[in-house]
């Protein structure tokens, strides 16, 4: 008796649920039908969210979303849909992930990556498929060099830009004999080559180039060698955990304060807290410092802190500029992603009022930007000069 009443109730409930589902479905299809013209813009994001570069992927994503949300969470009047894929900083997965975003998701824009190896795989697919790709970090020269393409943009830097100005600075400071040291991989080699190019041109001598297998962080043997060579200064490229370890080991080996340490800015960016006193006095060149006092930067730092409860860094700036680029270009074309030529032209012509100072794209679609000289003082990257104003990458090998 009880049982049968229960069944009746159940059947009634099912029926009313089905009715609700049908009306819901009808409502949905109606809104979809009406909203067809304003389908959301799909932004495919291919960044690392796990592993060594996870913090970078997170900062870039935050920065980009901040810029888009400040523009009312719309691009050219259309809603935005982010399709987020973890690149795992794994180059071998880059082509497949890229295909997933292009053919599977039909993304209008693809933003990524952090890691240059992943960038290499992405750039090749982007060239073949013509997908509009915006690189918010990976600084390998080739992306805006031999691999450059009308649909590939970069809002960050080239390894050349971050190291070349240091060559002249080193010579000016009176360093004649320099040892270079870096991980043995593309970005490290490119940074050292750019430094060497400028340093040799200024009349300096590279005593030795030391390469450490990537991502090895046991530096003791090499530090012993540096102490043995007694150069005037040491130029290095390291980043993230490796940068922390290298700077601490350098100090522990007694070299800090005896042989000045120079580097491209990643050596002391996002790592200063962990490096502590051992980083004091390190000179680096980079296209940004959180200590820049321009209004755009002050506002950005404040907004970022308010939105995410943590301090912004160089990667957040690059993400933010990527977001600004999307907002400005989509506004110019009125949200129309169908006319690719117009969209690409709009992207290429934007000037970005960035926290790092205003910049625009070069012919090869890489920022023409200031490079700042920073010195670590009291745990901050204090800007002590601008050795290169409006520096453009030579874009060797780019035919577009």
């Amino acid at each position: 008796m009880n049982n049968s009443r229960f069944h009746t109730a159940l059947r009634r409930a099912c029926r009313s649920m089905r009715r609700a589902a049908i009306s819901l479905f009808a409502g949905l299809s109606l809104t979809v039908g009406l909203g067809h013209a304003a389908e959301p813009v799909k932004v495919g994001v291919l960044l690392p969210y796990t592993g060594t570069y996870a913090a970078l992927g997170e900062a870039i994503t935050n920065g980009m979303k901040l810029a888009v949300s400040q523009a009312g969470d719309k691009l050219g009047g259309r809603e935005v849909e982010y399709v987020i894929v973890d690149s795992e900083a794994n180059p071998s997965k880059a082509p497949a992930n890229m295909q997933k975003l292009i053919s599977g998701e039909h993304a209008d824009f693809i933003v990524g990556p952090v890691h240059s190896g992943v960038g290499m795989g992405m750039a090749k697919v982007a060239r073949d498929e013509g997908a509009i790709t915006i690189i918010p970090n990976a600084g390998f020269n080739a992306a805006t060099g031999p691999l450059c393409a009308p649909n590939i943009f970069r809002t960050s830097f080239t390894s050349w830009q971050t190291a070349y100005p240091m060559g002249a600075v080193a010579k000016e400071r009176g360093y004649d004999r320099v040892v270079t040291m870096t991980w043995d991989y593309g970005f490290g080699r490119e940074s050292v080559a750019a430094f060497k190019e400028a340093f040799s041109k200024a009349g300096g001598e590279i005593v030795k180039e030391i390469y450490v297998p990537f991502p090895n962080v046991e530096f003791q043997a090499q530090l012993t060698e540096i102490a043995n060579l007694k150069p005037d200064a040491v130029f290095v490229f390291f980043a993230g955990g490796g940068a922390v370890k290298f700077v601490k080991d350098y100090a522990a080996a007694g070299l800090h304060g005896k042989i000045p340490l120079l580097g491209s800015g990643f050596l002391t960016d996002g790592t200063l807290q962990a490096q502590g006193d051992t980083a004091e006095g390190i000179l680096t060149t980079l296209h940004y410092s959180t200590e820049l006092q321009n209004p755009a930067n002050l506002k950005f730092l404040k907004d970022y802190r308010a939105a995410f409860g943590k301090e912004a860094d160089i990667y957040a700036v690059q993400g933010y500029d990527t977001g600004r680029l999307l907002v400005q270009a989509m506004e110019e074309v009125g949200g129309n992603t169908e006319d690719r030529q117009a969209l690409i032209a709009a992207l290429a012509s934007q000037r970005i009022d960035s926290p790092r100072g205003e910049w625009a794209f070069s012919e090869a679609h890489n920022p023409v930007q200031n490079i700042y000289l920073r010195e670590v003082r009291n745990g901050r990257n204090v800007v002590v000069g601008t050795p290169a104003k409006g520096l453009a990458d030579p874009a060797r090998g780019c035919r577009m």
Binding site: A54, A221, E225
Partner: protein, 286 residues
């Protein structure tokens, strides 16, 4: 090349080797005695490093941090053994590899959720924060020497425990014939639980003690996993003596590889492994 320079490089090599032994010892213990391929070894190293960082930043003392973190890692080892590994002893190696690989993913994700993805440093504890001057330019950090000393101490301790105590005898017995040991009234499950917990604690302890030397960052464990396997394979799977010798060989080879063959420095360690395996296919002491 002047002899002082070479001598310092020998010191570098031995010191690196001793650290590698500490990192690899837990792996060879679990592998040799339990026959389990523990891919999560690096992740456990990471757990140790992060615990050392977290407790140090909370309590302000590195030693207190180790004291608090070690029991936690023993507990973690016991839990993993009891609830995960035990079901797989009778299954083949591939299932164990899958499980421990899964543990890597889970532990890395937990790290990301609990501690975030930033790079952290752990200050070198006070009595060892200085450096000893070796030449007019180069000094040697005291903490590195201290770590070498601890590693050597652990090596001797493990050797003594396994070769010369009753517990060691039971462990060795359990490794060679599980059923027979059970038949003699020894609870093999308890022994294996202990061994796994010890292996876990060793891996985590290596992470803790190297935290002030290196930094603490996501993926820190992945970097030690491969080199640990190289050490264990060279030494012969399951042999503590072999792991010790293998670690020293790898340390010295890596150091002198970077000095004399800088172009090939990434490959010399693997060349060493290949050479050893050609000569003794099961490793030095298997």
């Amino acid at each position: 090349m002047d002899p002082a320079f070479l001598l310092i490089q020998v010191l570098n090599g031995v010191q690196y080797g001793l650290l590698l032994f500490l990192i690899a010892s837990g792996l060879t213990l679990i592998f040799g005695i339990m026959g389990v391929i523990n891919l999560a070894h690096g992740a456990l190293y990471m757990v140790g490093a992060y615990l050392a960082f977290w407790f140090t930043s909370r309590t302000g003392s590195f030693w207190l941090a180790i004291l608090l973190a070690l029991p936690l890692t023993v507990l973690l080892g016991l839990v993993i053994e009891r609830w995960f590994m035990r079901a797989l002893y009778k299954r083949n190696h591939l299932d164990q590899v899958l499980l421990t690989f899964g543990l890597i993913l889970v532990l890395n994700e937990c790290q990301s959720i609990l501690f975030g993805n930033d790079v952290h440093g752990v200050p070198v504890p006070a009595p060892f924060s200085g450096s000893i001057p070796l030449t007019d330019v180069l000094s040697y950090p005291v903490y590195r020497l201290f770590v070498s000393f601890v590693c050597a101490l652990i090596a001797v301790g493990m050797y003594f425990l396994i070769q010369h105590t009753r517990l060691g005898m039971v462990i060795r017995g359990g490794a060679s014939n599980r059923e027979m040991m059970a038949g003699m009234g020894i609870n093999v499950h308890t022994v294996f639980g202990l061994v796994f917990a010890a292996g876990t604690a060793l891996a985590a302890f290596a992470g803790m003690i190297s935290a002030p030397l290196s930094s603490v960052y996501p993926g820190i464990g992945d970097s030690v996993l491969i080199i640990s396997f190289v050490v264990v394979v060279i030494g012969g799977i399951g042999s503590i003596k072999g792991a010790f010798l293998g670690a020293l060989m790898v340390g010295l080879t890596a150091t002198f590889g970077t000095v004399f063959l800088p172009e090939l420095s990434g490959a010399v360690v693997y060349a060493l492994m290949a050479a050893v395996l050609l000569w003794r296919p099961r490793g030095l002491f298997a």
